[in-house]
Symmetry: C2
Subunit: 148 residues, 2 copies
DNA sequence: CAGTATCCTCGAGGATACTG
DNA sequence: CAGTATCCTCGAGGATACTG
């Protein structure tokens, strides 16, 4: 199996991983969620090669996660904005952050405050139906025919 | 910045990504959550090189995500079991799956049934404090001094 | 400021064969 | 069955310089 072939397999995780599963893509997205939108800003913050950055941004635009938006006309300059599809990757980012907070740092570098209630959010996964927290042992998987 | 240096940066996402941010690691974990535990089973399911698999499993054991467990004595055979630290990556897997369900497949290959209530779980992130759903625009980030 | 073009290096990982 | 050893290839990505 080649990594690129993951996109054709009937598995939502594999297909998502064919987009995100690389050394830098998720960190570019993390920057975007932090508010970064311009090429040189990404480049400076991540300290990553221009060639690599150019390639990754192009792929994410092609995938529909970013859209290029003109912010100045002369000369033409574009910034990279998260689309709705891109914004919907936020739960992935939060999950990664939560795990890192627990296992990879002493004190959390970032606290997320829920604007509505004013408290630290500490997001948690719950069943949409009954609102109870769901973990690995609370769920049973049913596979569709042909699922990888 | 080198990918390996991500582990030293003061950012929970970056440090987590230094563990998971690679073409195959997450798919190995997906297999593990599906119940796979033996070397040849991983290898057959993922159709990935033995060298690569051997390397990734060793790294994940070193990281504490898997533990090797003797399941037969003569000859000695070990299987790979998710530790608590590994099981705690389940929300990451669910988030990836949810996004893939929405954007990368027509029909979800896997349905997750909440054993307690019997309905499809469709896990959702909520504020642990007030139990309301939280998305990107509902949260405000506060950075600790020195956060990357 | 936001890239592209070109060249080059090095290391990830495939193929193959072997072992207890 | 679960790996390790060895060799080899190829492509990802760094460095550098250029452009509108």
């Amino acid at each position: 199996m080649k990594h690129r072939a993951l996109d054709e397999v009937y598995c939502s995780v594999a297909r998502t991983w064919s987009v995100l599963g690389d050394r830098w893509t998720m960190l570019i997205l993390r920057e975007a969620f932090r508010g970064t939108s311009r090429f040189d800003a990404f480049q400076a913050r991540l300290d990553v090669g221009r060639t690599l950055l150019s390639d990754r941004l192009a792929r994410l635009v092609e995938e529909g996660v970013f859209e290029r938006a003109l912010y100045r006309s002369k000369p033409e300059r574009y910034e990279y904005r998260l689309t709705q599809k891109g914004l919907d990757l936020y739960p992935v980012l939060l999950s990664l952050m939560e795990w890192g907070d627990r296992y990879k740092v002493d004190d959390p570098p970032v606290r997320l405050i829920h604007k509505a209630c004013g408290e630290e959010a500490e997001p948690q996964l719950v069943c949409r139906h009954c609102s109870e927290p769901v973990g690995y042992f609370d769920l049973r998987a049913e596979y569709a025919p042909g699922a990888w």
